[in-house]
């Protein structure tokens, strides 16, 4: 259903073209939350966020409050904000970075206060030229305004923030790949255990890595309380969430909806959201949570946008991107394109992902090009299995980081849901949709 919950993270940018400026930000209540937080005990700020049950918005959906509470006690702690959004069909952080950078900054400053970090790094995807410019301008404004730096608002709390541009690698959106990159090294993710950022993060110190959208929710939570946030949504899926809707809908875009109440069908069809499929087309399948999530068929379109409900059906809300495929879509081609993305973005560190991604991409392309063999389907599944054993959900992995197990879902979804289509490619020696 379509609820009347007011948007949280997009409220300002929906109403104002200059939402990225400090002037507008202050005029719309900006930095009030920071002032309020600074008057509270850091533990109380963290407690509000825990109460809010704010799930991480980067993809893994880990509760932010829990993440903060796992930090190793240490005189030095870091906060790193992940704005390296690089996955195809995921574009929600892009919007927030470009249109409401102060909100991200304010959330980051509150978080730094809550966890006792004196240094924040905001890592922004290098290709976001405008986003980087606005994020940096916002930071400069905030320094001048006194919201960042020494003795913020006379509270005695000091924190510095650095905006760091990425250099064009998807893998640096993985939290430990990001930390390596920040340290000036090649973006090879670290092995967990033992390199959990909360224990041994940036420069070996305990570090929180939070997503841009997660940070954007913090000011609202501080102003309105964790309970108010938790009263939105249902179960563990609280608050509102920004979904990037794309594919074969009439009105693709970013939509902030109340979690767990709204369904995929609402998102796709509602006049205020996607406005339905193109005339005369039917829904073939949709990807519920970004390129690395297993696909859903039309029979699951009425599932609510709830982390738990989606997980029950062996997929995830992931990065909050919903891709709609109508009946003109070639499933083989769609899966191949996603595989190609991962093959190009595999960092190459560990064998299964480095070699497996490239091999799978070649097989998928060969089938799409009409040179497939029937035994290729078993081969695809077995190669996938060697990256992500047993192809179960949540995935297992033979790899160092989650990029490896991100590769199989599109392939096995396509094969399980559209095996016939593969066989037609093989039998006809050509793509029937071409």
């Amino acid at each position: 259903m379509i609820t009347d919950a007011a948007p949280i993270v997009t409220a300002r940018l929906r109403q104002h073209a200059d939402s990225h400026t400090l002037e507008r930000y202050l005029a719309t209540g900006g930095y009030r939350a920071l002032r309020k937080a600074l008057s509270m005990h850091p533990e109380d700020v963290a407690a509000e966020v825990s109460k809010a049950s704010l799930l991480g918005r980067g993809g893994a959906g880990f509760p932010a409050g829990r993440k903060w509470s796992m930090l190793r006690p240490n005189p030095v702690r870091y906060l790193t904000v992940n704005g390296d959004e690089s996955e195809p069909a995921t574009f929600k952080d892009h919007l927030l970075i470009e249109c409401d950078p102060h909100q991200i900054l304010e959330g980051s400053l509150i978080t730094a206060y809550a966890i006792g970090a004196a240094q924040v790094f905001i890592y922004v995807r290098g290709e976001f030229a405008l986003g980087l410019e606005r994020m940096q301008s916002a930071l400069n404004e905030a320094y001048r305004y006194g919201a960042v730096g020494r003795d913020i608002f006379g509270s005695g709390f000091s924190v510095d923030v650095v905006v760091h541009p990425g250099a064009g690698a998807y893998i640096c959106g993985d939290e430990t790949g990001l930390l390596e990159s920040l340290e000036g090294k090649r973006g090879f993710p670290r092995i967990k255990p033992p390199y959990y950022p909360a224990a041994m993060g940036l420069y070996g110190e305990p570090t929180v890595v939070n997503n841009v959208e997660t940070m954007s929710n913090i000011p609202w939570i501080v102003l309105h309380g964790g309970d108010a946030f938790a009263s939105l949504g249902e179960g563990s899926s609280t608050g509102t969430r920004l979904f990037a809707l794309s594919g074969h809908v009439r009105r693709p875009g970013n939509y902030e909806v109340e979690m767990a109440k709204t369904t995929f069908s609402d998102l796709i069809h509602a006049p205020v959201y996607g406005q339905g499929l193109r005339a005369g087309r039917t829904l073939k399948a949709f990807i519920p949570g970004g390129a690395s999530s297993p696909w859903f068929g039309p029979e699951l379109v009425d599932l609510p946008l709830s982390q738990d409900e989606v997980a029950k059906h062996s997929s995830m809300l992931g990065s909050g991107s919903v891709v709609v495929m109508d009946d003109t879509t070639c499933a083989v081609r769609a899966a191949w394109r996603i595989t190609r993305f991962f093959a190009r973005e595999s960092c190459g560190q560990c064998t299964p992902c480095r070699v497996g991604s490239g091999w799978l991409e070649k097989i998928m392309r060969r089938i799409e090009d009409g040179a497939g063999r029937e035994e290729d389907l078993d081969l695809l599944l077995d190669v996938c299995d060697n990256i992500s054993p047993e192809l179960v959900w949540p995935p297992q992995q033979t790899t160092i980081c989650p990029l490896g197990p991100s590769i199989p879902p599109s392939i096995y979804s396509a094969i399980r849901m559209f095996r016939d289509e593969f066989l037609v490619h093989i039998k006809d020696g050509a793509c029937p949709y071409a």
Partner: protein, 934 residues
Amino acid sequence: MPDDETLTMVLDGRPVPARKGEKIIAAAERAGTYIPRFCYHPRMRPVGMCRMCLVEVKGPRGFSLQPACFMDAADGMEVVTTSDKVKKAQDGILEFLLVNHPLDCPVCDKGGECPLQDQTMTWGPGESRLVEEKVHFAKPIWISSLVALDRERCIQCDRCTRFATEVAGEALINFISRGDHLEVNTFPELPFDSYFSGNTVQICPVGALTATPYRFKARPWDLEQCESTCTSCAVGCRVAVQSSSDRVIRYLGVDSDPVNHGWLCDKGRFDFEANNSEDRVIHPLLRKDQELQEVTWSRALAAAAQGLRRALDRYGPSGVGVIGGARLTNEDAYAWAKLAKSVLRTDSVDAQLGDGLPAEVVLGLPRATIDQACSARALVLLAPDLHEELPILHLRLRQAVLDGGLPVVELAPAASGLSHLARVSLPYRPGEAADLVQQVLSPHRARSAGPSAPTDADAAARQARERARQLLGLDQGGRGEGVVVVLGRPSLAEPADSIAAAAAALAQALPEARFLPALRRANVHGALDMGLAPGLLPGRVTLEEGRDWFTRGWGTLPDSRGQETAGMLAAAAEGRMGALVLLGADPLADFPDRRLARRALDGVEFVVAVDAFLNGSSRRADVVLPAAMYAERPGTTTNLEGRITRLGQKVVAPGTCRPDWMIAAELAAALGADLGLESVEEIWDEIERLAPSHAGITRVLLASRSSRDGLLAPLPRVPVRIQPGVGRPGGGPAVHPGTTDTGVGATQGVPAPIDPMATPGIGSAERHGVPNVAGAPEDWSTEEEREAWEGPDREARAEEARRQEDVASRPSPLTYSGPTVAPDVPRVDGYGLRLVTGRVLYDQGTLVQACPSLAPLAPGPRLRVNRYDLDRLGRAPGDRVRVVTPGASLVLEAVVDPGIPRGSAALAFNLEGEGAADLIDATKPVTDVRLETI
């Protein structure tokens, strides 16, 4: 923390012990469970990249696949290595590794000794499921002048790149690109020029990295192998010498825990090319009609004996001198010492060429091992640049600084490879080392710096000395407990006495400190041990102290102390020398005063050269006796720690080359004497019997498995127990595919057997039944060794009893305590620069120049000076300048080097053309040069 601190891990259902911090893969291996691996290397940090070692480990959320090389074993940790899930994962990884790997095994150097090939044969599927095109790269590319890289064969295990960055500290090869296009490569225009590049070839688990000297030269299954010790420098790295068709074809580093950790420098690794050189002297040469002509041994020996006898008749014993001997084995050196001192009765014998330290300093100071140096409370470095002269010691110390926080106090006339890692670096001007040491030791008695007022630089220097005092524990009243001094002659153009005085001052102020001599040339320690130095007899005793003992053992001895090399050359130049024997020595190239060396060779009546090559000096000899080289004769060698290890004979010497001991024995016979030495074994037995420092180091003990890393002389006074035969070939369960010798069963005190995954190629040669125990006679490892293994207590008791009995009557080894006053050195004038000269790894030395792969790597001569001095003298970097001393002048390119202190100029020794040796006047303590424009 006690050594025996152990955890208990549950491995496949059975409890196995593990040490704190030990990786699952290592603990499992010790317990007899071999987990396959590619990227894991026991001497480098794990990276968990290849994923071959995935096992199931139980965590809070049940079992999951984890890399055994990366995860520490923990108490009660449940690990499963045999489940279907593990098997499937490992099979999958193996298949992945082969996907883009070319199947060119038949033309690949690694084929036959390739871990990827072996594991595929053991576990891999019968056929490939790949029908796609593999990833292609241009191949091969040369990443340095020695090493070629085939990126198609590379499995991206990060071993070579990790080695370069972590171990060598030269991050010149790195990963570039990503996905299945990930490749190892160099930076553009920046080749992998490293003294350690060969190690990357050695540890490569596939045939991606190959080095010129071995590339396409042999097939692994044709290789034979024996263990030996490298004799390129005095570190004494353990090696496997491999041959094919009776030619030495490759060395691989063997992991000796106290010494080299499996690493070798490129010079040590590749200088076997000299063995196979066409330029070897392989038959005796005799000067006839001004020309050296091939003759028979009997004619050559007769001529040599005649020349020596004439010199003795005319000048007496002091008219005969023997120079050199560091190339020799201990047994060779002993035979030559016996010939010189007992038959020729000359004490003018010197294994050093005026570029080392007095033998009393080397042998007479309390000795530290490399391990002790690495774990010292503080390390004083007063030595040549170890990176150039003792590369593997450099690696060990570098690692100790980076991993163990070893505090280094460096005293150096020019920056070295370790300067940037030193806590305190104190520069000094050649000749003033002892002054600097005095200033550090007793700051209040320090000589005034000069008439001028103290400057900021003075204050900084004083602070640095204060810091050094703190690190040495002097301010806390320390006596040097845990302090180790690496002591050598930093510059050839500074007086040895100055360093000796510095050493004596350190030893006096820090009586508990220990010393590790940074010696030039391979077995110089062994040669000095055997008495190839004036005033010394075998076993580290002085001529006087040992006179009675050796008169009984040898019959006759020299009447009085003889000359060092400088003295012998001076005497020869003045016509007071009848004959010189050059034992693998080339004074024209190696002695730091070429004019004196030239006059000496001109002035002496008769020269015998015992050498493997004709060099500048031996070309002027009257008789040249061809000697067998490394890998061509058995014996023992002694490294700078005093560690005695066995050399292996792998090939037959070419032509009629003979081992040096045999040449000594035959020359004695030609002189009408009998050395009483007829085999290497016999010589060793005599050394053990007569040389006090070597008492108890019997052949049986040396040959035992527990002595694989060698024995430190002298032995400790507690009985040495010979370890029973743990881990000997065939003794442990064979669990590694295709090999029979793994770490299984190794216990403390016994070196771990060779790990064929850490050093591919060692295992495969072992597989073919070649004895891996050093020692040339193939039957050495039979009855005696069996006894050593099986009768430890009986044997050790017998040894101890005999040693106690002997020790009573043997002379005692020398100790060194002075002089503490350094020679006076003139102050350098305002127009001059003081010369600093040390050796570099690749120079114009005969051995390097006989190696086709190494010879081109020798740098050209360049004068390195501080920018301040260059500016002051009105010269620009790159200018050619005339370098002038009172007796010589030469033209060199001047370059700026911030590592050279103001007032000094550095020029590496023995480079092409005229050089440092021409500038130095051996009669002066230091060499000051002036720069003139051309």
